[in-house]
């Protein structure tokens, strides 16, 4: 589901493009309507004004459904948290259950792909690719 909120949305688009090509894993069809989505990628800052919409969209998705919190903003509010802030939801997991967190500001496309692999691992219990050498 295309749910680009902020900066991370651009990286999410980049993931779908020729270089990273998320469609290789069959995850390339971004649907615009929540009714036809399985995975919600919350890509960006969730503000208090946006929060009710996020919840509604999540509830409109048919289960089984998964959520990736993409980027620091969606995880914890990221760089925009400060004392006296008045318009930020500090982490989308306060609103909806999140399955995989992908940190970064913004995360690189590889990060999102890895997040996708993690979702797969969560569903099937198996990892698609071997874990890279620890030295790196």
């Amino acid at each position: 589901m295309t749910f680009g909120l902020a900066c991370c949305a651009i990286e999410m688009m980049a993931t779908a493009m020729a270089r990273f090509d998320i469609d290789r894993f069959g995850a390339g069809i971004f649907r615009a309507t929540p009714r036809q989505s399985d995975l919600m990628i919350v890509a960006g800052t969730v503000t208090k004004k946006m929060a009710p919409t996020v919840v509604t969209l999540y509830e409109q998705m048919p289960s089984p459904k998964w959520v990736i919190a993409l980027g620091n903003c969606a995880i914890s509010g990221g760089p925009f948290v400060f004392e006296g802030q008045y318009n930020l939801v500090e982490g989308v997991d306060l609103l909806i259950p999140v399955d995989v967190y992908v940190p970064g500001c913004p995360p690189r496309p590889e990060g999102l792909l890895e997040g996708l692999m993690k979702i797969e691992e969560k569903i099937t219990g198996k990892r698609r690719f071997p874990v890279p050498d620890k030295r790196w």
Partner: protein
């Protein structure tokens, strides 16, 4: 255009002072009584000026409304200020003279609690019901019951044969989380209104909470597409404020990287615009090129998107031979690609029919809204800050400004394509002239404590005229930092252009602005 003697005659009560432009970024300062504001605005409107910015500063003893006027032919920035009582702040509205003031005044109302007399609709624009104080006031001031009533959005009335559509906040072609309320008669739009604030990340409030250095990462996150340009605007403003000299080499590298960033931004716009029109394939082609830009920039800045490469007095690190080599190769590559884009897109009959004669703008409209960037160059105004108020290395480099004739979507498309070519020329020229030397000023103070005063700094971002206004109070923390963003005034022309359009055209118009929502919401 604007003569001081004449102004003195017209407004005898006003305090008029000439300001050294090189130091402060504007030419003239006028302090007036609040009752005179409509007259002043009217005078400038007749002189062909546009409202560059309108905002408020809270000085505790009084609130100061700041109006910035400028004109498109020769830059002459005029700051008009007026003092308001902090207990019961009221001011006359100038939304009838400059339409963009309608939106700025709504913003000031919800952030400072200033009531504008004669304003038709002072409801929430950025904020929402949950916030019961005025966020940008220095002392916390509760929103009064009376004001709360005023701020509540009025439900639009349904009529026979019409219905309302909520375009967004989650919609595939609003480029983020913009919401536009459309009143439709079948396929035709009768009335449109943007609702902002779904990505209001409090950048202006954050600036008042941290030092100048700590604010460095923020501008790049305001406009993630033209991050370096925003970064540059901030850095440039603080450098001017503290009187830091920037080495020549840094200026040139700034120019090169900013132009690369501009190309990246325009490329993405090109793809997104075509996607709005229903053609999905060009999106992937432009990303192919854009990845090359990102590679080059990543090598020097260390980030793919939200750059924070410039430092006060120079750069984060120096560029090397590899960067130059890669950039040169990229220039060659992209030059060869324009031909392909022209064959793929420009010549397509469906494309031409979709964009030609749609969303026509004229100069009068531009003046009322203070729009900028490729949007106004499409009407034939050769207005570009890089040329009119040159900064960085743009003063040494000669380049042309592409302009359109009709001010329609086609012109905006052609201008952006042309601008990319010109950016390539600028980069090439800058690389050829790139001087040796230090990339960062030596002897920088550890703590930046700029002298008291205010300053305006402007930069041409990929979307248009970007302004930073800083008020300093001799501490490490800015007293007020105001960001004047180009997308804001560009977007606000949308209700006027969309009226009477088909919904498909409206989306094409929205796409042609190249808006970035986090920039508008700040």
């Amino acid at each position: 255009m604007v003569e001081i003697e004449e102004l003195k005659r017209l407004f005898p009560r006003a305090e008029i002072a000439e300001i050294p432009y090189e130091e402060r970024g504007y030419h003239l300062s006028i302090a007036v009584e609040k009752g005179d504001i409509p007259d002043v605005a009217d005078t400038f409107a007749k002189k062909g000026c546009y409202l560059f910015d309108l905002f408020c500063v809270d000085y505790l003893d009084f609130l100061e409304l700041v109006y910035f006027f400028n004109n498109h032919s020769a830059p002459y920035r005029i700051k008009v200020t007026t003092k308001l009582d902090p207990e019961q702040p009221t001011a006359p509205s100038i939304s009838r003279i400059f339409t963009i003031a309608h939106w700025y005044e709504r913003e000031i109302h919800e952030f400072f609690g200033v009531f504008f007399e004669g304003h038709p609709n002072l409801t929430y624009l950025f904020l929402h019901e949950g916030i019961d104080f005025y966020p940008l006031r220095k002392k916390q001031v509760k929103v009064s019951e009376e004001d709360k009533k005023r701020l509540m959005p009025k439900p639009p009335g349904e009529e026979e044969d019409t219905f309302f559509i909520n375009l967004g906040p989650q919609h595939p072609s609003t480029h983020g989380v913009l919401r536009v309320i459309l009143k439709m008669d079948g396929e035709y739009i009768l009335w449109a209104e943007p609702v902002l604030g779904y990505l209001h990340r409090m950048h202006e409030k954050m600036a008042e909470n941290r030092t100048y250095q700590q604010f460095l990462p923020n501008p790049g996150r305001m406009d993630y597409m033209g991050a370096l340009n925003f970064n540059l605007a901030h850095v440039k403003a603080v450098e001017k404020l503290c009187g830091i000299e920037v080495p020549e080499r840094a200026e040139y590298v700034r120019t090169i990287t900013c132009e690369l960033n501009r190309i990246g931004s325009h490329l993405l716009w090109l793809g997104a615009f075509l996607a709005d029109l229903g053609g999905l394939t060009p999106f992937l082609y432009v990303f192919d090129d854009r990845e090359q830009v990102l590679d080059i920039l990543e090598a020097v800045t260390g980030s793919r998107l939200t750059y924070s490469y410039f430092r006060f007095g120079g750069l984060y690190n120096d560029v090397d031979g590899e960067f130059i080599e890669k950039t040169k190769r990229f220039i060659e590559r992209l030059r060869g690609r324009f031909d392909m884009y022209n064959r793929l897109i420009t010549g397509n009959v469906i494309f031409i029919n979709r964009v030609k004669g749609v969303g026509i703008m004229d100069e009068a409209l531009i003046r009322r809204y203070g729009s900028s960037g490729p949007v106004i160059r499409s009407t034939g105004l050769p207005y570009d800050i890089r040329k009119k108020e040159p900064y960085a290395a743009y003063r040494d480099i000669d380049f042309e400004i592409p302009t359109g004739v009709n001010g329609d979507n086609m012109d905006r498309y052609m201008i952006r394509l042309k601008e990319m070519e010109i950016s390539l020329n600028i980069i090439e020229e800058a690389i050829n002239r790139l001087p040796d030397g230090p990339y960062r000023a030596e002897k920088l103070p550890k703590k930046l404590k700029p002298p008291k005063g205010d300053l305006l700094s402007t930069v041409e971002s990929p979307r248009g005229e970007l302004g930073v206004y800083i008020v300093s109070d001799e501490t490490e923390i800015p007293y007020r930092m105001r960001w004047r963003v180009p997308s804001y005034s560009n977007l606000m022309t949308f209700p006027e252009l969309a009226r009477g359009c088909l919904i498909a055209d409206a989306i094409a118009i929205l796409g042609s602005y190249d808006i970035v929502v986090p920039e508008i919401d700040r």
